[in-house]
């Protein structure tokens, strides 16, 4: 009995420590290469850049715990930077621009949910379609030629760049707040429990009376909302509206989730570990930049990191099962 409990906590501790450990190692390595790495300006930079990914990562994790996937997050981010920019330029105060944008995120999320649970279209195809839809609409809304929307109103960059508290921008605190809310959702709210139940054993959940359709639909809406928030942060950071700025973020999200130890078979996972994994990836990206790696290496690195994450996932699973 005790041995069993010991094994349980060992695994839990190992999964949680290992992400933090990897983060520590990466920070250490890059600091050795360039002591400026742990300097305040760099830390601020890294955290500011992580904001959209942190915002998306949590909800994405929950969706994957339930056994579903959403490949449209990158598209939603792009579209929402465009709408935020447009509404802002149209004269509305930025706050209301944000509200409208978040509403749009909810709408797209609801659309994803509709396609997946009501029309029963395979999530991969449904969300790939919405991704194209979002990028397409975003491109339509952006001016021909340059493709991006510039000239955003004064103060747009405050959200993602200003030194609001402890040198960190409000966007970061928003991301932290979202993360905390999602953790509460996962651990303390009934829908959070249902998320894990559906991913763990959908038949058992249905038999017990869980409304699978409703729960999964809500999860997709949450992802849409968070992606929209990420879009607002991105638009603020770049002072731009750019429909393709989010491309590849779905891949980043998947890598972060896998690196964070969430099984893609569903049922188990951790929002916090995903967020730490996001930090690992941003540190890695920043560190490689410091080292002088040209930007066109990014794609390869991403691919390699994903493959490494998969390998780790397999090894860890087999070790624990033994």
């Amino acid at each position: 009995m005790n041995a069993m409990l010991r094994k349980v906590s060992v695994k839990a501790v190992v999964s949680n420590l290992y992400v933090i450990g990897v983060l520590a190692i990466i920070v250490l390595v890059f600091t050795l290469i360039s002591p400026k790495f742990v300097g305040l300006p760099n830390i601020i930079n890294i955290l500011r850049q992580s904001v959209p990914a942190i915002m998306i990562g949590g909800a994405f994790t929950l969706l994957m715990i339930s056994g579903n996937i959403d490949l449209s997050v990158g598209g939603i981010v792009g579209l929402t930077t465009v709408t935020y920019a447009l509404v802002g330029k149209a004269g509305l105060p930025l706050f209301w621009a944000g509200v409208v944008t978040l509403a749009l995120g909810i709408v797209v999320g609801a659309l994803n949910g509709f396609l997946v649970v009501r029309l029963r279209i395979v999530p991969v195809i449904a969300t790939l379609a919405t991704m194209n839809l979002c990028i397409g609409v975003g491109k339509l809304l952006a001016p021909k030629g340059i493709g991006v929307i510039k000239g955003l109103p004064e103060g747009v960059e405050l959200f993602a760049r200003s030194r609001f508290f402890l040198h960190m921008p409000p966007a970061l605190y928003a991301a932290i707040a979202i993360t905390i809310l999602l953790v509460i959702f996962h651990k303390r709210m009934v829908l959070g429990k249902y998320t894990a139940a559906i991913g763990g054993n959908k038949t058992a959940a249905e038999l017990a009376g869980v409304n699978v359709v409703q729960t999964v639909w809500i999860l997709y809406i949450m992802v849409g909302f968070c992606a929209a928030f990420g879009g607002i942060a991105r638009a603020s950071y770049l002072s731009l509206g750019d429909p393709i700025t989010g491309m590849g973020m779905e891949m980043d999200a998947i890598i972060a989730v896998l690196l964070g130890g969430t099984s893609f078979f569903g049922g188990e996972g951790s929002v916090v570990r995903t967020v730490v994994a996001v930090l690992i990836l941003t540190c890695l990206a920043a560190g490689l930049q410091v080292v002088g790696m040209p930007p066109y290496w990014q794609s390869l690195v991403k691919g390699v990191v994903l493959i490494i994450a998969l390998v780790i996932d397999i090894l860890v699973k087999e070790k624990i099962v033994d």
Binding site: I121, I125, N132, G136, M251, S299, I307
Partner: protein, 341 residues
């Protein structure tokens, strides 16, 4: 295949009923004709012969569509094809570029004879296919995730070798032949390659044991294993074939533009999905056809060209693709449900 189709149409006339696959293929052919008709009416100068032959030249979609269709029939995804196209394009340029003490790196390649360069390129592509096969078949990881990774990986190689740009100097004159060598009118080598591959694919699909196995694996992998089908081997070969086809497509595209551009093929993996699904191939496996995929490619081609010629912004293309795939899935499901009840 045409013969089978005709026989089945005759059988239907005799009340014997045609298979679901023929029904869907025929239905989509009908949609193609309808779309063609509407486009001819609505779009000014649609009937320009150049335009029509441009449609025939949707070769990239069709060539990679073969691989994607085969894998979908078997019940799997391959999202890495877009990246493989870029990788093949850039590598074919890099390998055959003349080495020079040029002022910038991008102008200097390995100077390998073109034929050999192509072989090497294709070997690299098959290598990517092998990586896919390893993680998906051996490690049993979801094909979506693995192929997203190899998509990034292969495009990454393309971007590194082309340093984010393209390699278009110092290429041997034969480099552009694939894409521009024409014999009958506008029929160029690229189109010929596409036709040859298509015929090959149709033969494989309808007439070979290898082709039959795809359907068996897709229809019920457990039963296939219990019936002695070497499932792992077949799937691995399919992934390598898909990568190979991506490579051929990339080589042809590089030839057409006479440049190895690392941005080639962006989004093509989704296009391949669209035309595959449009053609009637079911995401759940065991059902579908390359013939349908070709029809789907033509339909998409007409829609794209019409959008262009009607003066809509190019970004509408993405919207069109998104809507088309959803509508296709729903419509085909509806049609088959009603037919089979």
């Amino acid at each position: 295949m045409m013969h089978t189709l005709i026989t089945e149409v005759r059988q239907k006339a005799n009340g014997k009923g045609m298979s679901n696959l023929s029904f869907i293929t025929l239905a989509m052919f009908g949609v193609l004709v309808a779309v063609f008709g509407v486009a001819s009416l609505l779009v000014p100068r649609f009937f320009d012969i150049n335009n029509v032959s441009n449609l025939i030249a949707q070769q990239a979609d069709i060539i990679i569509g073969i691989g994607v269709t085969f894998l979908m029939i078997s019940g799997y995804f391959d999202l890495s094809v877009g990246g493989i196209i870029a990788m093949a394009a850039v590598l074919s340029a890099y390998f055959s570029q003349a080495p020079s003490a040029a002022s910038f790196e991008l102008g200097s390649g390995l100077g390998i004879p073109y034929g050999l360069a192509l072989v090497l390129t294709l070997i690299c592509c098959v290598g990517i296919g092998a990586i896919n096969a390893f993680f998906i078949v051996k490690m049993k990881i979801a094909s979506v995730i693995v192929t997203l990774g190899t998509l990034a990986f292969s495009r990454g190689i393309a971007m590194i070798v082309a340093q984010g740009d393209q390699r278009n100097t110092g290429l041997p004159p034969i480099f552009k032949e694939c894409g521009s060598f024409t014999f009958v009118g506008t029929l160029n080598l690229a189109v010929l390659i596409m036709i040859v591959l298509l015929i090959g694919a149709l033969i494989v699909e309808k007439k070979t044991v290898f082709g039959r196995r795809m359907y068996q694996i897709g229809a019920n992998q457990t039963a296939a294993r219990l019936s002695g089908v070497k499932v792992d081997r077949e799937l691995s070969l399919l992934y390598m074939l898909s990568a190979l086809l991506g490579g051929i497509s990339g080589i042809v595209m590089a030839s057409k533009f006479n440049s190895g551009n690392c941005a080639l093929g962006t989004g093509y993996e989704f296009d391949a999905l669209v035309v595959t699904v449009l053609g009637g191939t079911s995401v759940f496996g065991g059902f579908g056809s390359v013939a349908g995929m070709v029809i789907g490619a033509f339909i998409l081609g007409i829609l794209s060209t019409s959008v262009n010629m009607l003066g809509f912004p190019p970004s509408l293309q993405m919207l069109v693709r998104a809507l088309v795939i959803i509508v296709a899935i729903l419509a085909q499901r509806f049609a088959l449900d009603r037919r089979n009840v």
